[in-house]
Symmetry: C2
Subunit: 364 residues, 2 copies
């Protein structure tokens, strides 16, 4: 008799994990560097062709006149909001209650920049036009995250975005885009990145979500904004002598995957439909609007974990390595479709999901 | 007739640059990764064996019970001083007028952390015991940089360090070490890193100076201090999903070069003596106490640049790619001895320096 493995270990041991692009290991960077000439000079404190060319390229993609590469989105976004707050002289910004800054950054915006937050909308839906119209507090900026990750990747309509942008312009509120997963929503909106970014005064994008790079972010905006952001990047300790490991990987990942976003989106919709056919399972959103969604179980984690492990071992299909307890009776996990999905044996995926349904039903 | 190349280009074109470890290019990272198994898992937001093992190793080297890897020293040091200021409730620290924080960080300590600085000593000498005894302002911490880079890499005596540490302890002032070049001064002090760090409450070391890594820093101290520093690292945007490109390089660079510091130090003393024999040239310090020193010319940059370029082209020996104007009549450059020095044709170096002396004398 052997002890049951952890869900994480069982998932790692599966032949067919369904999420993402594959393992995050040193092999990713080795592959990035293989075609690069070793004589290529490092960037040096933000200067040099490796960083400058990439910043210019991404500014173009996002339809902005300037862009600066940051080691992290946490840093890039705090900097953006600080600049807008300093310009207006109001140390307050509005964002969603589940914004990355609110729940994942140890209060950096408040502790480093002394910027307060006004939380808009409820925890289970996106910010709508009415939320913005109802704001009575003065704020310097409004941050919108597209898609809203912590609620499964939900989106307002494009028309709502346009209306919110219009209200912000009228009221002198800068609109900032948390576009960590911006490219992932382009197939749903049927817009270019530049079209969407045109509604925003500043834009952050990430390279290690759907794009599958190693780390790093771009902050884009008008040249005077980018000039200030570059000063703040140094103040934050983000102006490293060499950022090329991330930049080379971001550049390759962008070229490799930006055109696969429709494929991921179609895969997410297909897979979500299969999950929704299972007893006791529903996805959020019901129909994904990007490559991601959350899978919710109407059963407690303690009951679901052994079922998942058994299915992984029997079928070789892995759904997730981690369950989040929603409450004592419910649990969930996040799923983002990437390169791995395309190559899965779909019959086995469907069989694994039928197994899941049968075993969950047995709990009822 | 062709235009004169820039000093920077002329230096890059030399067969024998005398400073450093060689070019900072992508080849450095390729070489680091070559022996690493691609299946090695990335660190994930500060967790995983790549980062945890290295932090433990460096804590041991520095004789502290905790250590955390930062993407930059700028971030690591601001965090250290913020913690000490918060603990004492006094938002003021003391350091040298040419401290990195004062002149190279765009005022990050003040703008992000609202910490004021008290400048000790003059711009042309290190902080001595008397400077500390004379302090009347209350400060939470004193930062000492060993060696003081901007004045050519100068050091107080070890006895002075001990006395300053003792005064700080008595007065409740935390002592922080800017040890960007700590390993470089061990041969002069004839102490271990842990012995020196034992005098300090918190210690920062860098991996891309004498050690020759790509980027990154370690902050070391007691476990409660490191726990707080880890929270601040996230707030600063330094808790990247993957820091392994820097960590792998730092680890290899440490193992490769920490035992070469005496070789670099001996080389620096030898080369400084040769410079001091040249007309119109003097080094600072006269006799180096680490692998670095500054070379000062008693002539203006405009006169020295063409002489250097001519010598580079005639001898293949390169001294520097950049001159700093000290004033209208004087200029200088910084020199750090690394791996390249050992393999230089020393006869040609001496010949190039004789040339330098002759040509500078012709200006007199």
């Amino acid at each position: 008799m052997t002890a049951m493995p952890s869900l994480s270990d069982a998932y790692k041991g599966t032949m067919y994990p369904i999420a993402g692009h594959g393992p995050r290991n040193v092999g990713v960077l080795k592959k990035v560097l293989a075609p690069i000439n070793g004589g290529l000079d490092s960037d040096i404190y933000g200067k040099g062709s490796i960083i400058e060319d990439f910043q210019r390229k991404m500014a173009g993609v996002l339809g902005k006149d300037g862009a600066v590469f940051f080691p992290s989105g946490t840093m890039a976004q705090q900097v953006a909001l600080r600049i807008w707050c300093d310009r207006r002289g109001i140390a307050k910004v509005a964002y969603h209650p589940l914004c990355h800054m609110e729940i994942h950054e140890q209060g950096g915006l408040r502790e480093l920049h002394r910027i307060e937050s006004l939380l808009l909308a409820d925890r289970d839906r996106v910010i709508e036009l009415q939320d913005v119209l109802d704001m009575t507090d003065s704020v310097s900026a409004l941050l919108l995250e597209l898609p809203q990750r912590e609620i499964g990747g939900q989106l307002p309509t494009y028309q709502t975005l346009e209306s919110i942008a219009s209200v912000c312009r009228e009221r002198g509120i800068k609109l900032h885009l948390d576009g960590a997963r911006l490219f992932e929503v382009l197939p749903h909106y049927q817009k270019t990145a530049a079209e969407i970014c045109g509604l925003f005064d500043s834009v952050y994008i990430s390279f290690y979500k759907g794009l599958g790079g190693i780390a790093g972010a771009i902050l884009a905006g008008e040249p005077d904004f980018i000039e200030e952001a570059t000063v703040w990047k140094r103040r934050h300790g983000g102006d490293l002598i060499s950022l090329y490991p991330y930049i080379l990987s971001a550049d390759q990942a962008y070229d490799l995957r930006v055109h696969r976003m429709t494929q991921y989106y179609v895969g997410a919709k297909e897979l979500a439909a299969l999950f929704n056919e299972c007893h006791g399972v529903s996805t959020r959103p019901r129909e994904p609007v990007s490559n991601m969604f959350h899978v919710h179980f109407a059963y407690p984690a303690a009951a679901v974990v052994p079922i998942l492990i058994a299915i992984y071992e029997e079928t070789g299909i892995g759904f997730t390595g981690r369950l989040t307890e929603v409450d004592e009776q419910h649990c969930s996990f996040e799923l983002s479709i990437g390169d791995l999905y395309e190559a899965l044996p779909k019959d086995q995926v469907r069989a694994a999901l039928r197994q899941l349904s049968v075993r969950l039903l047995a709990l009822a």
